[in-house]
């Protein structure tokens, strides 16, 4: 899939699938005067059909998992998925709850994990920058072996 076209100005669609709100607020905070990611062309959009990136926050529950799948199907491809916050990465403190049987990455292909409870706006921005850098980089197949 050609993801190179996504490296300029990413438009974000934000999905809260059972979070405590903190990650959502910190994501919104990125848009406000102190952090202001709109400078770089990043925009929070209201419709999934305009989005390049889905930012998912929260540990997914049964009811929202169904919706999440539908939302992903509606997204124009290529579409990147960012798991924002510890809950989205690993279900965090809510692991083992009767209403949360599946973690996010078993349902969607996650491209980036941003841990933190909640991640600071700086961490979110750094994560997205990492993602863009990774898309720009030519694929290195032998990187793992080289490290060992």
């Amino acid at each position: 899939m050609n993801t190179k076209i996504l490296t300029k100005s990413l438009w974000l669609f934000h999905c809260s699938v059972g979070s405590c709100n903190n990650c959502d607020i910190e994501l919104l905070d990125c848009l406000t005067p102190r952090y202001d990611v709109e400078r770089f062309g990043m925009l929070l959009v209201g419709s999934i059909r305009h989005a390049d990136v889905i930012a998912v926050t929260g540990a997914m529950n049964i009811k929202s998992a169904e919706r999440m799948k539908k939302i992903y199907e509606q997204a124009p491809k290529p579409c990147l998925v960012v798991a924002c916050g510890t809950c989205a990465c690993s279900q965090g403190i809510f692991k083992g709850s009767y209403s949360m049987p599946t973690p996010l990455d078993e349902i969607l292909p996650v491209n980036l994990y941003i841990p933190g409870c909640p991640p600071r706006p700086e961490a979110i921005i750094a994560g997205i920058v990492n993602l863009i850098n990774r898309l720009n980089r030519p694929p290195k197949k032998k990187r793992l072996e080289a490290k060992i």
Binding site: I62, K63, E66, Y98, S99
Partner: protein
């Protein structure tokens, strides 16, 4: 003022009280009979202008208990009514006939414990999905579910 107020409430509710306990100055716990619930709540809400806080369902492994919490804001007193519901026949009168604030919490207790509320307009799922397995009540004790 608080002590006087407590006496007024207790004298009004006297005929319904099975047990009464007041562990601290501004908390009271009263156990009443299942059939008296509507009368007592009507008295509290309409005559004594209590504010309904919420209800708590509880499964003590022998029977169900529902705690109805009421607050008397100006007198700084929180009164809790406890009713015991037999496990074999989990049915209780709905408070939604008295005030709309009971609508959601009764739906919630219905889906978590499987307790039926007589007179509730719509006991659909509130928090759990529509497809939730029938007869699986997450807040019942595990041995019950098995």
């Amino acid at each position: 003022m608080n002590e006087d107020f407590k006496k007024i409430i207790l004298s009004k509710l006297n005929e319904f009280i099975k047990t009464y306990d007041s562990p601290s100055l501004n908390r009271g716990y009263i156990e009443i009979d299942l059939k008296d619930l509507i009368n007592v709540v009507d008295l509290l809400y309409n005559s004594l202008s209590a504010r309904f806080i919420t209800a708590t369902g509880f499964d003590n492994s022998k029977e169900f208990e529902i705690f109805y919490h009421f607050s008397f804001d100006s007198s700084n007193y929180v009164l809790t009514l406890k009713v015991v519901i037999p496990y074999e026949n989990p049915v209780i009168q709905s408070l939604s006939t008295l005030f709309d604030a009971a609508l959601w919490i009764e739906r919630e207790i219905h889906e978590f414990f499987g307790i039926n509320f007589i007179g509730h307009p719509d006991l659909a799922h509130l928090l759990l999905p529509e497809e939730w397995e029938e007869g699986n009540y997450p807040y019942r004790r595990e041995e019950r579910n098995a």
